[in-house]
């Protein structure tokens, strides 16, 4: 880290001359801006502009309909719950992967990326097969009275699968960089393991943990493919907001679909900004540069 930061700082020092030495600034930045605008910015703003055509009253009526509210509550609630579980277990998993050595560790580490690589529809039908009442895990949970498939709990399970690598892959490099001597000093000074972890290690991990949580949460809110198969999709109970958008589209209710989409986008962006603010607060509080 020190070398890379040094080069960056060095480069900022000679900013004026560097810009002239390396060619292609105008070309690459120009192309980036044009492509970004054409593919992402203009189409995305179209959604907002189209929702304005609805008019305030109609918009409000659509998004406060009980079925819409229930689906938004489920999408955001399940994503929040899954991200919390991922934060806890992601912390344990990245700790174990960085600090301990055990057989097949590299293989297990590589497997953490599976949710990034496995298509969501495949994950969806596989999780449904596992957690259905006659599935490998479903028939174990059935006697305990726990139903996963075709309930809101199924949504959470799918979102745990989708979000896990975001937490682990954000925490791992930070854990690798932590200065062990500080922990060892705490231990020599008589701190228990738990004290060392909660007072020394954890404060340094907070910003990364929050980032991983936020990424997993954001991904979970909009997730569709892995959820539709396992959720059961009952209106008011296990119907997620993205599915309701598709239902509205199939009924040619474009205005309704757009209104839900805009609410989802605004809630997601708002939450991301909030989490970013929280992160900056955590960063300055721990004074990690």
């Amino acid at each position: 880290m020190t070398t890379s930061t040094a080069t960056i700082e060095n480069a900022t020092g000679v900013r004026g001359s560097a810009r002239r030495v390396i060619p292609g600034f105008g070309l690459t930045l120009g192309y980036t801006m044009v492509y970004l605008s054409l593919i992402v910015l203009i189409p995305l703003s179209a959604t907002f502009i189209r929702s304005l055509e609805l008019g305030g009253g109609h918009f409000w009526a659509v998004v406060t309909a009980p079925r819409v509210l229930a689906s938004l509550k489920l999408s955001f609630g399940a994503a929040l719950f899954a991200a919390l579980i991922n934060a806890v277990f992601g912390l344990i998993i990245s700790w174990v992967l960085v600090r301990y050595s055990f057989p097949f560790k590299r293989l297990i580490d590589a497997m953490v990326d599976l949710p990034f690589a496995l298509p969501t529809a495949v994950a969806g039908i596989a999780l449904t097969a596992l957690y259905a009442p006659n599935g490998w895990l479903g028939h174990l949970l059935q006697p305990l009275g726990i139903k996963v498939a075709f309930t809101p709990l199924g949504v959470v399970v799918a979102l745990i699968f989708i979000g896990l690598p975001f937490v682990v892959r954000t925490l791992q490099p930070v854990l690798e960089d932590l200065d062990r001597e500080v922990e060892q000093a705490a231990a020599t000074l008589g701190a228990s393991e738990w004290q060392t972890f909660s007072r020394v290690t954890l404060p340094a991990l907070w910003p990364a943990l929050l980032t991983g949580f936020a990424l997993a949460f954001a991904r979970g809110v909009g997730e569709y493919g892995s959820v539709v198969f396992i959720a059961g999709n009952m209106p008011m109970k296990s119907e997620i907001a993205p599915l309701l958008i598709i239902t509205k589209l199939e009924q040619y209710d474009y205005a309704g679909a757009t209104a839900i989409a805009v609410v989802m986008l605004m809630l997601s962006f708002g939450l991301m900004l909030g989490i970013n603010a929280l992160q900056n607060w955590a960063l300055t509080r721990n004074s990690i540069r």
Partner: protein
């Protein structure tokens, strides 16, 4: 490293090592159990279900003409979307890593934007623009051009969803590498293209490959966005993931999982490619990971 950790503990206090060891076993057990339940079992389930009715049924499912037309369409879509996002990724990474300008962190945030947009909304925005009731709807209808519920819509939605992948991998790799090498080459008289191909490219090719692998995996596996714009016309606008869904909803589970196993194999190949990259270029890989994590955490 872990050895050091333990010895320092045991010299600090003689009572602790056994408890530490127990804690360690519990944490490793929790990790393995969690990963087995959420990652390994779903993967195993795909292949067991696919082969549940024997190899014959498996081969029949994946050699079905409708499955083949879905595979062909998926390959076409990826063949268009991935190179476009690759060119964009290289351009964006060059601008961001080699130069300093105002609004750089905003630009990085905007590049990441498609990650924060639901795939369903990604499909919806193209219907709002090119659909029958969309901005260009009447124009397209008058000229008999189909974008939505046809292949162009599928390609556009896939480009949107996979937009950040190559850029996201390349930016930290290029930033970790700095620009000293390029400046040296240029001062020795190389021109811009020579510098890129002979100096920059050899340094970034593995990061580039990884970005392309991830981008390709997502392009071939995208479901939500493509589902909205495809119109589900069998043999024409069905990609492999959509074909899986149709088979599944028809209760043809064995065939659904057989076709799904092809996508699972693609995922395993992607992970293998990533592991080879880590093994070949461990230092570069870790520098880039670190840069990425720091950048994500620090961005405001």
């Amino acid at each position: 490293m872990s050895y050091n950790f333990q010895t320092s503990y045991s010299t600090a206090s003689r009572k602790r090592p056994r408890r530490l060891y127990l804690g360690r076993i519990i944490l490793i057990a929790v990790t393995l159990a969690f990963l087995a339940a959420f990652l390994l079992l779903p993967l195993l389930a795909v292949f067991t279900q696919a082969l549940a009715k024997g190899v014959g049924a498996y081969l029949a499912a994946i050699s079905d003409p409708l499955a083949w037309s879905a595979i062909k369409l998926t390959l076409w879509v990826a063949a268009i979307a991935v190179p476009l996002n690759l060119v964009f990724g290289v351009a964006a990474a060059w601008a961001i890593a080699k130069f300093d300008f105002r609004g750089k962190s905003t630009l990085i945030t905007l590049i990441d934007l498609p990650f924060a947009v639901s795939p369903v909304i990604a499909g919806l925005i193209y219907i709002l623009i090119f659909g029958a009731h969309g901005w260009f709807g009447p124009f397209l209808q008058a000229h008999d051009i189909r974008i939505v519920f046809a292949v162009p819509g599928i390609v556009l939605a896939t480009i949107f969803v996979t937009f950040p992948f190559v850029a996201r991998e390349l930016i930290p790799v290029m930033q970790a590498q700095g620009k000293d090498d390029e400046e040296t080459a240029l001062s020795l008289g190389a021109n811009g293209w020579q510098t890129f191909w002979r100096v920059t490219f050899p340094n970034i090719r593995w990061g580039l490959l990884y970005g392309v692998l991830l981008c390709n995996a997502r392009a071939m596996g995208e479901f939500g966005a493509v589902s909205v714009v495809s119109g589900h016309i069998r043999g024409l606008t069905n990609t492999v993931p959509l074909h899986v869904e149709i088979l599944y909803n028809e209760y043809n589970y064995t065939a659904a999982f057989a076709v799904a196993s092809l996508l699972a194999l693609l995922a395993l190949l992607t992970l293998a490619g990533k592991s080879i990259l880590e093994w070949r270029e461990p230092e570069l890989y870790h520098a880039a990971r670190r840069q990425q994590a720091i950048q994500r955490t620090r961005r405001s």
